[in-house]
């Protein structure tokens, strides 16, 4: 059994029976729970000290819901979303971190799902394009993309929108040039950039000068 979870059998009993020395010597789970708060409890308890090999079951929080995933450690968050959870809004473009089509938010930060392992996202809040609207009410960025025709084929659009939402929230869409630079991780082969820029700038509060 894992020595991380249980103290060795020959661990001597605490001499003074105080709570402090009990905690100290019991180590393992208690020690872990009381370790310096470098990380959230959720992160620590899900995967810590366990070797994950082959297909296992774990929980991801996606769009506010706890979802069970059965997958090998090598399965990316992108494949877990699309192939295991039927959330196909997040697109697979290059699968190598070069196009931005797979952009999702992890704990509020825009992130590439293709270069993230699903198993490493336990305890984190994942938001995909499916989680943006409030019921039938579109997110302002979604509405702005429709208004400004911010797409042609639409394949890059979920990534553009997720990136755009984060870009505005980060305060990186205050000028056209700044928005262009901070949206540059999302490629559009149709070349809808002027309209994408117009949508992002409108949500940021100032219409694009084109």
């Amino acid at each position: 059994m894992s020595s991380d979870l249980f103290p060795p059998a020959d661990t001597p009993s605490p001499a003074d029976n105080s709570r402090r020395s009990f905690l100290k010597q019991s180590g393992g789970i208690l020690g872990l729970a009381l370790a310096p708060p470098l990380v959230s409890q959720a992160e620590r308890l899900t995967a810590y000290s366990k070797v994950v090999a082959g297909t296992t079951e774990f929980t991801l929080r996606v769009n506010g819901q706890a979802r069970t995933v059965r997958a090998e450690p090598r399965v990316t968050l992108l494949d877990a979303l699309r192939e295991r959870l039927d959330l196909t809004g997040t697109k697979k473009g290059c699968d190598h971190g070069q196009c931005g089509a797979c952009t999702v938010h992890i704990d509020g930060q825009r992130t590439l799902a293709c270069l993230s392992l699903a198993v490493m996202q336990q305890g984190k809040e994942i938001t995909t394009i499916e989680g943006l609207a409030q019921g039938t009410e579109l997110h302002p960025m979604q509405a702005a993309f429709i208004k400004h025709d911010g797409f042609q084929c639409g394949y890059c659009t979920p990534g553009q929108i997720m990136s755009g939402v984060a870009c505005v929230r980060e305060g990186h869409a205050d000028t056209d040039d700044q928005a262009r630079e901070w949206m540059s991780g999302n490629l559009c082969r149709c070349g809808a950039y002027p309209n994408i820029l117009a949508a992002v700038r409108e949500v940021a509060g100032q219409p694009s000068k084109g």
């Binding site: 310096p36 992160e43 994950v52 082959g54 450690p73 590439l112």
Partner: protein, 328 residues
Amino acid sequence: MNDFSYTQAASAKEATGRLKDQAQAAYIAGGTTLLDLMKANLQEHPQLVDINLLPFKGIEQTKDGLRIGALERMSVVGEHPLVVQAFPAISQSLLLAASPQLRNMASIGGNILQRTRCGYFRDAAFPCNKRVPGSGCPAQTGDNHNLAILGVSDSCIANSYPGDLSVALAAFDAVLTLENAKGKQRRVPLTEFYLLPGTTPQKETVLEPGELIVAVTIPTAAHTQRSTYLKVRERSSYAYALASAAVGLDVQAGTIRAARVALGGVGAQPWRSREAEQALVGQPATDATFRAAAAAALRGAQPREHNRYKVELAQNTLVRALQQVAAG
């Protein structure tokens, strides 16, 4: 991507202890380089040890200078007030690199360890001395338009580190703190961390199997505050450098008292140019001085057929960076 086992470690001791086979296993932090290479079957690891819980965090002024934990993310460091104010070139090198998404993910340690974008290295159908020692280097006579011209060898002309941060770190005398599997720490100047290809291009750094990058420390000086990072690319954003320059100057009454120069995109490793620095120190901060320094920096260049343009491009990049810093 071949399958692997995954485990999380909460301390350096635990991380190194969890490696079943130090030479085969890999640490994972942001994963942006590692998973890309594993997907392309350029690296294969039976075990990944997640080091994100290790306490290699923090951005703080110490008596030795600015200390950045190796697990801090590029986006956080690039916009941190201490870095923006006292080390503008380092902030710029981070914010001009990759994309916002990748910068949110990639750690400082992982950035330092990123690998070449040479097309022959990245395509397993080709021979490559870096990937398969002794197999050959088709880049010597092939498509070498974006490969290195300084520090190259007949075995390899890759820019082994294609990124930006380490160029700025090389310029400003950064020192890496490393910790090995026995818990022993050592400090290595960044300029001695990378290895030139010579006849062994597969050996890229002095990092030993199982060893971790703990932190990077950059001494504070007048020339770090008055600094810039200028990057020239094939498109205006989200691309690797064709040529770049990290420059810092301490100019007093028109005379250069101290200078730091490193070039990116042109060297087999982040290219600190002490030749350029010698040509600058004690001289007036004029275009003539800057051109002389740029000529000195590229004097040893060994271009191939398709990257000759880099000799002039790198010089112009350096001159413009020096002009910007001198004017600022």
